[in-house]
Amino acid sequence: MLSSTVEDYLEAILTITENGRQSATSQEIAAALGVEKATVDASLASLVEEGYLERVSDDAVRLTENGSAVASQVARKHRVLQCFLTEMLGVDAERASKEACTLEHGISDETIDRLSTYMDDAQTAPGRHMGRCRRGQGTCTLLDCKEGDTARVAMIQGPRRNRRLLDLGIFPGEVVQIRRKLPNLSIVVRVKGCDIAISPEIATSIIVESCP
């Protein structure tokens, strides 16, 4: 099996299982990749053999620790590339997604890291707002949540600037509740029994795991 095919399969399974589901069926995988179910069954068998997947039932599989590491690395490459193509180069979203699918298999980890850092820097530079791109692919920030929602923090951008968030208990993995959201987007979140008021520009750098 080509390594790019392996990566495509793992990425597809990651996407299917992302919303808290435990496993993906071969039908769903076939639909996501646009190939025959028979082909999928054959490929899954070899992926299980190689230790990327484990069977949950006859028809369903889930990622092993190893498989999920590969999948999230590819998914990240895809996100970064797509973001780069749409936001920095102005390629339209559909085409960017397709090309990111091709490029993600050839690009090295280091180059992706550098590209990502480069874009982070560009984002914090005055006058550039790339929040929209980050939110594609089903990522939302705290500002997308409504009053009363609870959300699990996935990532915080600009971690060094926002050190105080960590100390107040807002860190990746923690669940926060939106207590108040003003029309001007200043918010109050409740975390660890305390209410924390946060300015909009900081709230927008807090990425939450699933969109409400």
Partner: protein, 619 residues
């Protein structure tokens, strides 16, 4: 013997400190009250014990001024024991700091404060597991009622131990700690600090950086985030053992009305206007009573004595100064401080900060700036000191300009005494309106031209509490006594100097010299310039001096309404007082201080002369 108090902001450290030492310390229900080390002594069994009150911090890893201060203090190990004060109602978040302090390996005692509030919230506290886990003494207290406070010192004296607790870090971090220990012989705490980028051994930092990069690329989280998450999760576990939610008591949630646009913002504006109105109306009534009292019982009998002219002049100056001082201190300054203390203790200040966050962004700061701006109504000096809670230099520079422009209680005296008294209360409010518009314009302008990074607000909302009258009065009294001890001597000296200058005719010469200019520019007589100059010492002295120089307290008889109005506007805007200039120098440096001084003088004269030349045309 020396013990240090450490804890999160608003956990009652300062209250415990003042109960133990008998010293007055300002206690506020928002972060950032204690920005310096407070030291005090207490006596226990005929031994003198020094207590150090450290500023409230959330963590020892941040880069804010308070965090640096506390970290340096702990690193010097210049204390026999650390008394960690925890808020029982927010135990988990407080334990996060405790775990960090424990890593320093100093002898510790834990004070579980606000135990009474926790019980009221339906929480059941069992200090047993915490005591066992930490291996040190844990004392539940209720500082607001003084409960168990007397046990703290004996516990700290009874040969306290360092806590044996160890935070279980992520296995990558643990591996990094082991590698660093092998390579450099550093202990656990030093290794963790090196991974976070703290330390003074460049080789260690270099090695730690490499390991940290490695860990970061694997976790897709920074090392700081992993470490913080480990500590928080451990704190969560410990808190779960110590505190049980016995009953979920339904609480009235005042935030439902306080932090919404409606009715939150009308309430906020109402509080501001209400505060000014109360101070104006009650203040001017009380002032009249005090001034009358001085006139009838001291001044007139003294003048009736028929002493030699020089002695009489001196005595009169002193009495007038006392009259002016008391006439201001109690009605205005004290009232302002009572109201501000109520706002602080109730926790309302942080609500106002949240509501005003967006507006403050427009003038180049964030919501936290509401606190210095409100404090400034009482006195600019503590307000300037509190701008430290703003995180960037840019915000502090902007705030220092705006805070100095806010009419403090001394300037309110001028507005109330001169404008409200002789022109009308509507005119008095128009002076505030002019000043607020100027503050707004200045802020809009400064936010455009001031260089530097922007920071947003991340602020803990203080819990809403019913202010305790005794504590409110105590705090207001404390602040008033600062005013009395700093301002009164200045007022007395200033008044005597003025009396002498007047007596020897120096004043007359100066006034004749400047009169043509003040008349042309502001339409004010020469002696008003003298009053303005004395206003630099203490703002309210401008008013008193004017009254003394005019030879009557009934200013309406010697000056026109327009003149009085212009005088008040110019004085309110003109140069910050001496005390403010001194703190400005310390907080923002000589360049900015000079800029503020020049700007305010120019602004005062410009606005005054505009009023002088335009008002007669429209009225």
């Amino acid at each position: 013997m020396r013990f240090a108090l450490i804890g999160n902001p608003s956990v009652g450290k300062s209250m415990i400190f003042s109960q133990l030492t008998g010293l007055g310390v300002e206690v506020s229900n928002y972060p950032g009250t204690t920005v310096e080390l407070q030291r005090g002594n207490t006596c226990f069994q005929r031994e003198i014990i020094e207590l150090v009150d450290l500023p409230g911090v959330y963590s020892l890893d941040g880069s804010s001024e308070e965090e640096n201060l506390v970290r340096r203090f702990l690193e010097q190990k210049d204390t026999d024991a650390v008394i960690v004060v925890l808020n029982a109602t927010r135990l988990e978040r407080n334990l996060y700091l405790l775990l960090q302090v424990a890593e320093y390996g100093l002898p510790m005692v834990v004070v579980l404060n606000m135990a009474d509030e926790a019980v009221k919230e339906g929480l059941e506290i069992d200090p047993g597991p915490l005591r066992d886990l930490l291996g040190i003494d844990v004392i539940p207290t209720a500082a607001s009622q003084g409960k168990n406070i007397d046990q703290i010192i004996p516990a700290a004296l009874a040969a306290p131990r360092p806590s044996a607790i160890e935070i279980p870090y992520d296995h990558h971090i643990e591996a990094a700690i082991r590698s660093l220990e092998k390579m450099f012989g550093t202990d656990r705490k030093e290794s963790i600090r090196a991974l976070l980028g703290f330390g003074d051994n460049p080789e260690l930092l270099e090695a730690a950086r490499t390991i940290a990069d490695e860990i970061e690329s694997r976790h897709r989280m920074t090392v700081a985030q992993i470490i913080a998450a480990n500590r928080h999760n451990f704190a969560h576990e410990i808190a779960g053992l110590t505190i049980k939610e016995k009953a979920h008591l339904p609480k009235t949630d005042l935030d439902r009305i306080l932090t919404r646009v409606f009715p939150g913002i009308p309430i906020m504006l109402g509080i501001l206007v209400g505060m000014l109105l109360v101070v104006f109306i009650t203040g001017s009534f009380l002032e009249e009573v005090i001034v009358e009292f001085f006139d009838v019982f001291l001044l007139q009998p003294f003048l009736a004595l028929g002493l030699p002219p020089l002695v009489e002049e001196l005595g009169k100056s002193l009495l007038l100064a006392l009259q002016a001082g008391f006439g201001i201190a109690f009605p205005y300054v004290f009232l302002f401080y009572i109201i501000i203390s109520i706002l602080e203790d109730s926790g309302y200040m942080t609500r106002a900060a949240f509501l005003a966050d967006n507006a403050m962004h427009r003038v180049g700061m964030h919501g936290g700036a509401v606190i210095p701006l409100t404090l400034a109504f009482g006195c600019n000096v503590p307000a300037i000191m509190s701008i430290r809670l703003l995180s960037s230099r840019r915000e502090r520079v902007i705030a220092s300009f705006l805070v100095t422009m806010v009419p403090c209680s001394a300037r309110s005296v001028i507005i109330a005494g001169i404008v409200a008294g002789f022109v009308g209360i509507g005119a008095a409010f128009s002076v505030y309106a002019i000043v607020f518009v100027l503050i707004l314009i200045t802020g809009l302008f400064l936010s455009r031209v001031t260089p530097g990074e922007r920071f947003g607000m991340i602020m803990e909302m203080a819990p809403l509490r019913r202010p305790v009258p005794k504590l409110v009065m105590k705090k207001a009294w404390l602040r008033l006594s600062e005013f009395l001890f700093i301002a009164m001597p200045l007022l007395l000296v200033g008044s005597v100097v003025l009396g002498l200058l007047e007596f020897f005719g120096v004043m007359g010469a100066f006034e004749q010299l400047v009169e043509p200019y003040t008349m042309a520019l502001l339409g004010l007589p020469g002696y008003s310039a003298t009053a303005l100059v004395f206003g630099i010492l203490r703002k309210e002295m401008a008013f008193e001096t004017l009254a003394i120089l005019a030879g009557t307290a009934n200013l309406g008889a010697v000056l026109s309404s327009l003149q009085l109005y212009i005088f008040a506007v110019v004085t309110v805007l003109f140069v910050p007082c001496l005390a403010t200039i001194t703190v400005l120098l310390r907080e923002v440096g000589s360049k900015i201080t000079l800029a503020i001084t020049v700007y305010t003088v120019a602004l005062g004269l410009l606005v005054g002369s505009l009023l002088f030349h335009i008002l007669p045309l429209v009225m």
